[in-house]
Symmetry: C2
Subunit: 488 residues, 2 copies
């Protein structure tokens, strides 16, 4: 259970007055530190204090690393120190992973050493009963008085791909640099979620911060920072509750006018809400209030991790649509009907196509073929014998159709060498860039063929989705965000 009442507001107030240059400078020692101490570094492989040092060493961090352990001379080939106070150089950031009762002493030493950022991974604080809460208050006070900032406690850590910096005991094997920043209010979930997200070729991370019990650094400050951060274009926020709703909404509103924010907030139902309350110690509040507030602030709510992958991909690659009218180009009437259903159910529309478009497609199609939206181009492709060219003509017709704001292209991808699939190169070639409207490809077939398509088309900045539902949901959120941006 974290204690939301001890967040010191002094820093937050100070932050608000910073411009972007000041903000980037303020957070430079956190996201791009010149040196990192690991207090509680371990010599035992597999232990959290070992993996922390390992992650720093193996994943490309180039600054100085100081393992702190009173009983070791050397850890993973690095000189170990008894305390941060014995380290000769300056330290920008300390990761702390000693038992909770030892943390106040460690924080005191860190403050004395003028370490600006303290990433307190240790649990046993606000989430762990009365004594834990007392300890949390104590460390908050020590750090606050000493002008050090706490991230946590009770977290898996933080990542900055800018600095190849992995201050976490979660084992990371592969991290793609990218434009998505992740902020979470919970440890275990944040780690598992990052592992999941980073499995996808399409997903690239700029930074991630787990706030855990949030005794100091808050999501509001990070939103302000990510608004300024040139490496971040999309922000993913997992929240369980907010302390100061008004500030949060004011900040979120301002940030999402420039960069989209995806929100994962559980507790939509009463049972879920009780579950959130029981593990954070805070009342989650009525979900309908949150929903309305999120909408007002332009936040895009998602309800599972796969949606984060799909939606951020669309936001990353595509222009925002002017309105919600989708042209569905399909290889199959059934798949077209499926996409139409999902569009309608997700706030999009499937309009009649303009006369010009109909004339162009009619010119390609057999005479018995009715031309409508969804646009089944298979008969035309069969007639012409050139499926790639048929797709190209249909896409380009839709791109200039004044009734169309977004385009979904459904492709069956596993029919090569039987020439019923356009080659991904043909699709990439077909679409004129820079895109004037969002175009998303839904590729149905063997998942390895879908991946091959995605690889080729990502070079053309076209997102490829493996299911119709993921494709439509992503475009629906893109539309929602486009509408918010129009208002602001």
């Amino acid at each position: 259970m974290d204690n939301l009442n001890v967040i010191p507001d002094i820093f937050w107030i100070k932050m608000k007055k910073m411009n972007c240059d000041e903000m980037l400078k303020e957070f430079e020692p956190l996201f791009n530190p010149r040196s990192v101490a690991v207090v509680g570094a371990s010599r035992t492989p597999g232990k959290a204090g070992y993996v922390l040092v390992e992650n720093l060493l193996n994943l490309g961090y180039r600054g100085s690393i100081y393992p702190i352990n009173p009983n070791a001379k050397e850890i993973l080939g690095l000189v170990a120190y008894r305390s941060v106070l014995e380290v000769p150089g300056t330290i920008d950031l300390a990761a702390v992973i000693v038992p909770a009762e030892m943390v106040p002493q460690v924080i005191q030493e860190c403050v004395k050493k003028r370490i600006k950022y303290l990433v307190i991974i240790s649990g046993g604080f606000g989430e762990a009963g009365k004594e834990g809460k007392r300890l949390q208050d104590e460390i908050t006070q020590i750090a606050g008085q000493g002008r050090s900032r706490i991230i946590g406690p009770n977290i898996i850590g933080m990542i900055s791909t800018t600095g190849n910096l992995f201050v976490t005991f979660a084992p990371f094997k592969q991290v793609r640099k990218g434009s998505v920043a992740v902020v979470a209010q919970t440890g275990a979930f944040c780690g598992a979620a990052l592992h999941y997200l980073l499995s996808f070729q399409d997903f690239g991370l700029s930074k991630s911060v787990d706030l855990g019990n949030r005794c100091d650094l808050s999501e509001n400050e990070l939103l302000e920072y990510f608004l300024c951060d040139p490496d971040t274009r999309i922000i993913v926020l997992h929240i369980e509750g907010v302390k100061d709703g008004r500030t949060f909404l004011e900040t979120a509103k301002r940030v999402s006018a420039k960069k989209p924010i995806l929100v994962l907030k559980f507790g939509r139902t009463e049972v879920g809400s009780r579950a959130v309350a029981s593990h954070t110690g805070s009342l989650a509040g009525s979900d309908s209030v949150y929903s309305a507030a999120f909408r007002q602030a332009g936040l895009l709510r998602v309800d599972d991790l796969d949606e984060i992958v799909h939606v951020s991909r669309a936001l990353e690659l595509l222009p925002l649509p002017n309105d919600n009218r989708v042209c569905i180009i399909t290889f199959s009437g059934a798949a077209g009907a499926q996409a139409a259903d999902l569009c309608i159910e997700n706030g999009l529309t499937v309009p009649n196509l303009a006369g010009d478009t109909i004339a162009k497609i009619r010119g390609m199609s057999p005479p018995w073929m009715g031309i409508s939206n969804p646009l089944d181009i298979w008969p035309a492709a069969e007639r012409s014998g050139d499926v790639g060219k048929t797709y190209a003509e249909a896409i380009n017709a839709a791109l200039v159709d004044e009734n169309v704001d977004l385009i979904i292209v459904l492709v069956n991808v596993s029919y090569t060498p039987v020439s019923q699939s356009p080659m991904p190169e043909e699709l990439a070639e077909a679409v004129k860039t820079p895109l004037t409207k969002p175009v998303a490809i839904c590729a149905i077939g063997y998942t390895w063929d879908v991946e091959r398509y995605a690889e080729v088309l990502s070079k053309k900045m076209l997102p490829v989705y493996p299911t119709v539902k993921s494709c439509v949901q992503a475009l629906s959120k893109l539309y929602q965000y486009g509408m918010y941006r129009k208002q602001t």
Copy 2:
């Protein structure tokens, strides 16, 4: 556009009176033919008539293969014949892939040769205007008079993994034998869908039949057959419309009392419904009528392909639950709240646990920890230092809890060697089998770690899901089917 009005009912009436032995015998030449002719076999690699022969040769079919092509002596090393009439032996099944206008002549020869099943892949019939419709009526009549059965026309073909039989021009690379039968009313979609489904390790196919324009063989007959087929335990049905709703529902009801039927039917919205109508030429009818009828017949409606993978996995492995009360065992409060939300939103409940269960968990947990459902066992695991054992005890407590009908186990899987993940072997070991209640694992982390978990746990017949949503949706359908089975 297919023509639903020419389905000859004589066969159907005859079928209804068959018992299972007769039914299996009736369909033996279709699903396990001793010999197959390919009318329209081609020597040109990549052409549909070539891939057809290639699929028969390469995917393990052991009967005789007769390529029919008047201009070839040999195709892919097989002797080619000018007509089926020139083939010396008997032929059980003919695949036909010549231009539509040549099909009537071919059918006449097939009838003369007494070929029982004609898989007519060629398009250009009911879906292709007036002349196509006339041709379709003609072939239906010729086959009907000759006691041959038509599958199609306008299809991608059929598969029987029992007979290693791939009568299709869709290129197949990998097919896992399994217990799921797929029946579809549309060609292109069916092929792409099969490719997608067969990408998943968890998904195994018994048979698939694409009915296309359905001029003869219908979904009703196939439902009757799959009810009898010992290789099939789950039926997936894609339908666009049914001709005789009463017969369909009566059949579906009877079949789903023994084997679950998943239904994919698009046209839930008006726009989707219009799209279905325009490509099948039939009115799809009001979706609410279908929905109610499906529910009444115990059919499980799904709306995308990934759901077929997830739901069939649960149906394949798990016992049916007695009621809808879920115990959620979790490594993270946030993930637990997420699962609770999704349970409630999908018709499941998250009850209070029995006193015994609470006492068992309390005995393992630190004193400050509140014990509720979702059951966050991380503090207990941390305290014991043995995460595998902690999971095992929680799962086994839930298995005997009289308040619990289903169990969801949330695991973070990428924390090894940091021992925050139970090893999959530990989970497999923990769960007592045969299962008395359905237990599903939701594994969150790197997708390759999720696959490793799935591999180990599949040996214990436990399904592993990569997202909370897919896990809950699968259990929700399992519950829905359990309730139908209780009624019947």
